[in-house]
Assembly symmetry: C2
């Protein structure tokens, strides 16, 4: 049972085992968004503002903020963006950059305890990012790759994660402040990408006792009907024990999968959130009638095991 | 790696670990379907015919056939229904009744190797159903409840399943011919129903080495937006190792979850079935562009871990 606390000036959220799954909004990121990149480079944050409000309205618990635009002063733009986003919402942020100077500029202006995104198992990254994380009392995303790249062997990726956790401990960073990203590969390219991710997530939780995250939509890269694949992936990853994901909260299919998985994982007590969210949804009347006693039936005689069962889903014809 | 072979006169299907998930159509069941019950009792099989064709067209690999109508000659009706269904389709059947005489009547007319649905851990059921299963060389669904009813303790339900497998062995029935139903309870009534089912499914697969099934829609009984819950449940159960389910194949959401889970569990090699099914589905162009190198990015410098990641799901704005 590991809890990772992240906060803004006024709001605290806890990522943890047996907690509601944490949705980290991915939209404030100019990568692959030419228009947003051009606007941010020109100091126009209109779209950053609308993306902030839209993601929070859609149910994001945290927002990832990235300002990675080639040929620009990334530290300055990232700091400005973080100040703006914190003025618009109280959800905690993930400060996202591969440039250490940008991470430090973001950390310097951030109000609260942020998530630093990210450190890898590469020596030169460990040596510069971990001291920053410790200096600012932040939490950090640990990506399970190192100088050798990303291994296709889940055991190797587990060892890289283990090394990062151990190195962090040397810097006085507790494992509860490390969220490991097992790295989700596109399943269209690597048929075992799903199984590898689920087994890694389970091991990271059971053996390293750390919280986990991932870029959920990578799994479906290059395949048709991506949202349905993302939806199933999120449910299965939550079933395997994943506690957060960097994803697009404005996609209804993916969010519905998260809400449903919370119910099924037992982290939505009495299904309260689910019922509040969907109580006006047209119910399956037939199922309700037919499955009046769905479970006890198999034990009893006449109606038979399948009776209640089929009934629970049957439409009334 | 356990394979359970079920067949009709001309078609064989294999339920097994690392196989495509087996969808057993639940619709031919008068329980909770007043109109169907009245028709079947009157010898009118019009709806049985249309339900047979619709379920097979929707992608069912097997069909469950139940004729449990109070105050009727169930053995006669079940046998007639099975003969009709086998004349309409070559998918193997599950002969479903809590009346032993009905099971025997169905087995007597069935062409191929059917699935008998079901036996429980109750002594009197074991003593009458297992000899029938052996006599007709069938496979059987074992429901994990006994005289004491359905325990809320997954360990107790596991022990009941174990007892059934052992008793079956005494009758010369191999464990590969037993498909255990861990019993899925409505999560609206039992908050731990999801977790209990997933842990049981995993243990049944890893320790008893048996295939598993369940009445999938029971999980959402009494809750709003049932199909989304069923969808997430199916993905998570398949992720936990479940190899078949008795469900309604005519529900697109549930079937899409099954197809996606097959891809993610690695049982749809090269995503061939998925691509064939959804190739004309409007692709997420932006994602395709932005995530050109979704995974390697974290290891590389400038673009940052989140860059490719966010890109993989970002829309191009």
């Amino acid at each position: 049972m590991t809890d990772t606390v992240i906060s803004s000036a006024t709001k605290e959220i806890v990522i943890g085992f047996d907690r509601l799954f944490c949705v980290i909004g991915e939209r404030i990121n100019p990568t692959g968004r030419k228009l947003l990149a051009a606007e941010m480079a020109a100091g126009d944050f209109t779209r950053v503002t609308s993306d902030t409000l839209a993601q929070v309205a859609a149910g994001a618990h945290m927002l990832d903020v990235n300002a990675g635009i080639p040929m620009t002063d990334e530290p300055k733009i990232l700091a400005e963006t973080i100040k703006l986003v914190q003025s618009l919402t109280d959800v905690p942020l993930s400060i996202d950059s591969s440039i250490v100077a940008a991470l430090e500029a973001g950390l310097a202006v951030y109000k609260g305890k942020p998530l630093v995104n990210s450190v890898t198992g590469e020596e030169e990254r460990l040596e510069v990012v971990l001291p920053l994380v410790k200096k600012y009392g932040a939490a950090v995303v640990a990506i399970s790759n190192d100088e050798t790249g990303i291994s296709e062997d889940p055991d190797v990726r587990f060892e890289v994660a283990k090394k990062i956790v151990q190195r962090a401990a040397d810097y006085g960073i507790h494992y509860s402040d490390i969220i490991v990203d097992p790295l989700v590969m596109p399943i269209g390219a690597l048929g075992q990408a799903g199984r590898a991710a689920f087994s890694l997530i389970r091991r990271l939780r059971e053996e390293l006792k750390v919280n986990t995250t991932c870029g959920a939509s990578n799994i479906s890269f290059g395949l048709p009907n991506r949202h349905s694949l993302n939806q199933a992936f999120l449910s299965m990853a939550i079933g395997a024990g994943m506690t957060s994901a960097i994803m697009n909260p404005c996609r209804p299919q993916e969010m519905e999968a998260v809400h449903a998985a919370n119910v099924l994982a037992g982290t939505d007590p009495n299904c309260t959130s689910w019922i509040m969210k969907y109580r006006d949804h047209k119910p399956a009347e037939a199922g309700a009638t037919a499955a009046a006693a769905p479970a006890p039936a198999p034990a009893g005689g006449r109606r038979g095991g399948r009776a209640a069962r089929a009934g629970a889903g049957a439409s009334n014809a």
